[in-house]
């Protein structure tokens, strides 16, 4: 597995969320993702970026284009030095009511990604890694 391209963005303000979305959009489009897959992953990025600000006190996002076993993909790493998540299992449960409101956005983002990993230490910070691969087309 190797990283073809990487960029790091600040995630502190709501304008930064817009920038993260644009960067992920550009990368997934460049990697040849279908429009639906692009939209899914950019939305996942948006969810986690917001989390980083709302729950993590702000942090950074690393956007990487990766290549592994003949597949190209985009990997996102969101890191903050915030309070951390005390109960990851709980945070990963669907907090969404049918009215679509509460919850930390983690389970939703996971569903929109191919690979998803949350590492968190209470008091130290949180790191969320998401990967989406380009699906082989016809």
């Amino acid at each position: 597995m190797h990283v073809e391209r990487t960029s790091t963005l600040e995630v502190r303000t709501s304008e930064d969320v817009v920038k993260v979305r644009q960067e992920v959009r550009n990368r997934t489009a460049a990697a040849g993702f279908s429009l639906v897959d692009q939209t899914k992953f950019v939305t996942a990025a948006s969810e986690i970026a917001r989390n980083t600000i709302d729950h993590g006190g702000g942090g950074i996002a690393r956007v990487e284009t990766i290549f592994s076993a003949g597949k190209r993909g985009v990997r996102l790493v969101f890191e903050d030095a915030g309070p951390g998540i005390a109960d990851i299992a709980l945070a990963m449960q669907d907090g969404y009511s049918s009215g679509g409101g509460l919850g930390m956005g983690l389970p939703g983002a996971k569903r929109l990604s191919n690979e998803f990993c949350v590492e968190s230490t209470p008091g130290k910070g949180t790191k969320v890694t998401l990967v989406r691969w380009k699906m082989p087309k016809l």
């Binding site: 639906v36 082989p136 087309k137 016809l138």
Partner: protein, 158 residues
């Protein structure tokens, strides 16, 4: 050098065979999820086979694109050809219905066989969408909903 050429040729051959297989798989997937424009503003999706997660994605994409193209307001999803309805299939059906609804189209599920009706109740599945036994019933409802009346042609001699 000749060895490399031989290997390259074999790889290209293999790759094009793989491509053909992938393309055929995709075509098969699309063929088994046809969308029919039944009437003005009414679409029908006769589903054949199991509704797994991957298939559901194709079904939803297909359906939504057709809704945009045809301006349909009602989609009849016929599950006569779906062998079993378990929790997963029910979830996938609900996903499809929800997606269509976000695009302004209501769904009607038709083709509910007696065993399916029983399974749905036994599993406590909440389908939350109008369902009918036959597509004919679903079409009748869809016509009513889109403000159409079907009436016999007058047979009075002229």
């Amino acid at each position: 050098m000749l060895d490399k050429l031989g290997l390259y040729t074999a790889e290209v051959y293999q790759q094009s065979r793989d491509d053909i297989i992938k393309r055929q798989a995709q075509e098969l997937l699309e063929l088994s999820t046809p969308v029919v424009e039944l009437w003005d503003k009414i679409l029908a999706l006769p589903l054949i086979g199991t509704l797994d997660s991957e298939r559901t994605q194709t079904v939803i994409e297909n359906l939504l694109n057709h809704i945009v193209k045809s301006g349909a307001e009602i989609a009849i999803i016929d599950i006569t050809g779906v062998p079993t309805v378990d929790t997963l299939v029910a979830q996938n059906l609900i996903k499809t219905v929800s997606a269509a609804r976000l695009m302004g189209a209501d769904c009607i599920i038709s083709g509910i066989r007696p065993q399916i009706a029983q399974t749905i109740v036994h599993l406590g599945l909440q389908l939350d969408v109008v369902s009918k036994a036959t597509m004919a019933d679903a079409l009748a409802l869809a016509l009513k909903r889109t403000g159409k009346i079907v009436s016999p042609v007058s047979s009075k001699p002229q």
